[in-house]
Symmetry: C2
Subunit: 597 residues, 2 copies
């Protein structure tokens, strides 16, 4: 049976040593985030994840969700109790402003504890996760009345939220959407149409479900310029906030999915349901992107979370499973065979994952910190720099952490041999669950296009130039430190490949955009390799400093240095391959006729 | 709903143009394999796969197998009919000698049609697949009486076979096995113990099941030197070949697996079951390896098969799904959006798979041809060379085609976006089915170790040197041909990396075997890249020759050249990364304490 232990020390190392979160005490919400307070919060989150969420994860996968003939949906046993424990602990509103019932703490802290929650039970965490996306959209685009009506209940978790974008014929290309909105004359609208793949679309864990729905107002322009965003509650809400009659929205079916069986992924039918415009008419995409950007960070985190729990179990299995003998001679002479962790190929697999999860955690929290700075700083220049970086990192974080998170769940499963293929051992679930993160909230090919086609050139490349300068400066500053050589050398080499590829796009993709598309996925991963390498270099610096200061557990820091060295030796060299591929351009792939594929 | 069309023209191109199978007409069984005959056989196989096996594939996954309280097992609806059609067509014994009821045709042809069968229904094909492994072992190690008793029924498919190796505590390391055999005094044995993960272990599609079981005879030495192989029929077989009383072997449970749901993977309990020694006492591993080597080729083929069917469906989807517009301007102005095949990133994915499956098919058939030569040639030198190559290629074929087959099923699934995650669309099944092939018949880490630790140094490296010479000579011979430059240059570069890495092992792994283990998986893939590149170079040569001769469909050959170019540009450069990783050695990964993982 699988186990889970939240990596609290690793989180604290990133927050305190690497990011130096106490330096930001002047930001709103950070003043309360003292080191002691952070440790206490992270520790409580670990307990919740380990003791309440994780125990119903495997059973939730096996039981799945059930839609009944009356269109109600039952979630797996134990989910409601675990969900209530999560909400009652105040975790849902951890980073939401206090005026709507939240705790106003840093989003960075929300991300830190979010990792544990998704490791422990990704399918369950999607229910509050979708609520958080809806809260974000209402916070930014809702009227004061809408905020007052919906947010407190949603922050408590007594009402949940959803995002309704996709239709059968329209996913990425929202311009094709057909769901329509007809004005009722009283400011409300009648919403009609069908949405698919709606996570947490129907269930009875909450008293109401607040659907945020993209639809086209009658007579609005075609394409993306005619799309508006609506609030469509499952139950009508009275002026006093009470829950009233059922609205015209029902779950038509639940999807049979490869994984996240504990999450009710619904076909939602809107039949003249009453909806309320949120934000301006025909500006629905902008409002939706507030949700979407937040959701992309959350999905990237899922990639990390699943790789982490899969890794933990694979490492345990490798220490316990005895089979064969070490290549360099018997290690456990008291046993009939050595534990398989003596084998280099097993260590290679485990270290590949570990080098990813530890840097992935730093990457996630560093990005989350940019979000906090962008939203909370009083310094316009600082805000802009952070916002630039957040925008640039969002597609990379989503695309790279989920691609690699899946690959590494598969790698961890492989350590188990045949047992990895058997559902009771739990590794299959991690692989099946991790798979969706590469797809939803914009398939990873779309993330790569967002990066290359949009984020790279934004404001004359301001964000990317600033980051290249930052990394270059880091390498330069640490050039003289011999304890840093392996890290800065590897990082510099990767940065050179990334800069050369960026230059190649500038020279070859303006006149021929297919050259950008042809290299986009490789570029996203090249960028990810460099950013994760940067995180390793920063972690190595912090580890060296802690060792020099003689504080804390020396083994912990030595292992960081060792894992970072592995990253630089084995993983970072992939940048050269990515660069080579990018530079071959689009010609060969565009030459083939569509029917010849 | 998924579709399948057997790639008959691609198969015939490899058999006729690339391998020139008519050159081998002097080998037994090949005299009947004229081009017309081959085309007819391949065409019939295509029909069977498309019309009988494929239609019950998705439903078989969804229904799965059921074990009843009386320990009988029901297979999915339609499996029995499809199985019977396969057997009645004589496909099970296609390459088995005529004296046992087979057709004595080339194993190469068996592999060619086997691809179609596994594409169409991998789970179903495992039932006859296991029978074929058991037939191979009985053919080589069985007594004349055993052959006469079992083979004809097994070749007909009225009896099926299994391989019983794994026990709960012992998979890779068979030396740990505990199933015991006690002599009955009449030449038979009582077999007792538990086996797990037994594919096709119990079902009622056949009149009898012939289990081949590894067990330790009472008093035999510990470890692998004390293991013997036994025939344990489900029903006792009378002297006249009639099926009699039930033997003491029952299915204790069927496993809940990630995929291949249509195959009954059983826990088998042996309780003083009557067994008959096959081959010599304590020489069970040698007999088992006859099955195992054959099975490894079959499993490698599964990797190719699943990538092929996943590719076909992804290509169809990409041609049909409209979403967004081309980066280089509107392509389908009559539609609201362009088909997604206009996007370079989709083409990159599809071509990556296509470049793999087409070379993988050539690799499989080329290896199968070595098996035919090794087993059927009258020329000792020729036999030895072929047998060397077969031994060397077996772990690479198994490891690389299944690792990549899985990766490419995932890549094909990604083309579908959200629909790829929904079971009804079929792509999830391909991913889940493909996953097992990386694990069973020796997990791919074991294949890599077999290659580096055993096959590489065998007979002073005779096999590997011969192959390097063959590839080097090919590059040299075609150096002057400007139509071949892109292929021979890419191949030569890859070969150089492979040779350098081989040299590195010779210099660094003798004294320190962990250096071999640390680089084994990278080396296996490096070797695979070069061999698949060699296949592309050979296919390019054949395509150029056909174009020069003006025979056949010029587009077909042009597309081969284009796909091969894509391979050389985008995929072959990975050899440099693999080499870099190998040369970092084992130090970093061995330094970490087991408890620090």
């Amino acid at each position: 049976m699988p186990v889970y232990k939240a990596p609290v020390n690793d989180t604290l190392f990133v927050l305190n040593n690497v990011l130096g979160i106490d330096r930001y005490h002047n930001l709103p919400g950070f003043e309360d985030a003292t080191p002691d307070m952070i440790e206490a919060i992270v520790g409580e989150a670990a307990k919740l994840a380990e003791e309440q969420l994780f125990p119903v994860n495997l059973s939730g996968d096996q039981e799945g969700c059930t839609r009944h003939d009356d269109a109600t949906v039952t979630v797996p046993k134990g989910f409601k109790e675990a969900y209530d424990a999560y909400c009652q602990g105040g975790w849902l509103g951890l980073a939401v402003p206090a005026e709507y019932g939240g705790q106003g703490l840093p989003y960075t802290l929300h991300s830190a504890v979010g990792e544990y929650m998704s490791s422990a039970n990704m399918a369950l965490m999607m229910y509050p996760g979708l609520t958080q996306g809806a809260i974000a959209a209402i916070l930014v685009h809702g009227s004061e009345e809408q905020k007052a009506t919906y947010l407190p209940k949603m922050v408590e978790g007594t009402w949940s939220g959803t995002m309704n974008l996709t239709e059968p014929h329209c996913g990425t290309d929202l311009g094709l959407l057909r769901t329509k909105a007809v004005p009722n004359g009283d400011g409300s609208y009648k919403i009609s149409g069908q949405k698919i793949f709606i996570s947490a679309g129907e269930h009875t864990m909450t008293d109401n479900i607040i659907h945020l729905v993209l639809a086209r107002i009658e007579g609005a322009p075609e394409g993306t310029k005619g799309i508006s965003l609506f609030i469509v509650p499952k139950f009508m809400v009275g002026a006093d906030g009470s829950v009233g009659a059922r609205n015209g929205v029902t779950c038509g079916a639940i999807e049979h999915k490869m994984g996240i069986h504990g999450n009710a992924t619904c076909v939602m039918n809107y039949d003249e349901a009453t909806g309320y415009l949120i934000g301006a008419e025909n500006k629905g995409l902008a409002a939706m992107f507030v949700m979407m950007n937040e959701a992309r960070l959350g999905v990237g985190l899922q990639g990390l979370s699943i790789a982490e729990i899969a890794y933990q179990n694979a490492a345990n299995y490798a220490r316990e499973r005895i089979q064969g003998r070490s290549l360099s001679g018997v290690k456990a002479s008291d046993k009939k065979a050595d534990p398989i962790i003596v084998h280099p190929d097993i260590r290679r697999s485990l270290l590949t994952i570990k080098a990813f999860t530890e840097a992935g955690r730093a990457f996630t929290l560093w990005t989350a910190l940019q979000s906090d700075i962008a939203h909370r700083s009083g310094d316009e220049k600082e805000k802009q720099t952070a916002d630039d970086l957040l925008g640039l990192m969002t597609p990379i974080l989503k695309g790279v952490l989920t691609d690699k998170g899946f690959d590494h769940a598969v790698m961890a499963q492989q350590v188990y041999g045949g047992h990895g293929y058997i559902e009771e051992w739990g590794m299959s679930q991690y692989v099946r669950d991790a798979r969706i993160a590469m797809i939803y909230e914009g398939a990873n090919g779309i993330q790569a296009l967002d990066l290359v086609g949009r984020k790279l050139g934004l404001n004359g490349g301001r964000a990317v130039m600033a980051l290249f300068n930052e990394i270059g400066a880091f390498c330069e500053e640490n050039r003289g430190d011999e304890k840093m050589v392996v890290y800065t050398k590897g990082l510099k080499k990767g940065l050179n490949d990334l800069q050369a590829s960026t230059m190649w796009f500038m020279q070859n993709a303006m006149a021929k955009p297919d050259n950008a598309g042809a290299g986009s996925t490789d570029y996203m991963h090249l960028f990810g390799l460099v950013v994760l390498g940067y995180m390793w270099a920063k972690m190595a610096k912090s580890a060296n400093e802690a060792l020099a200061a003689g504080t804390g557990d020396a083994d912990f820091y030595q292992n960081k240095l060792l894992t970072g060295r592995f990253y630089m030796e084995r993983i970072m060299p992939e940048t050269a391959l990515r660069k080579t591929r990018i530079e071959t351009g689009a010609d060969t792939m565009m030459e083939m006729a569509a029917e010849a594929f």
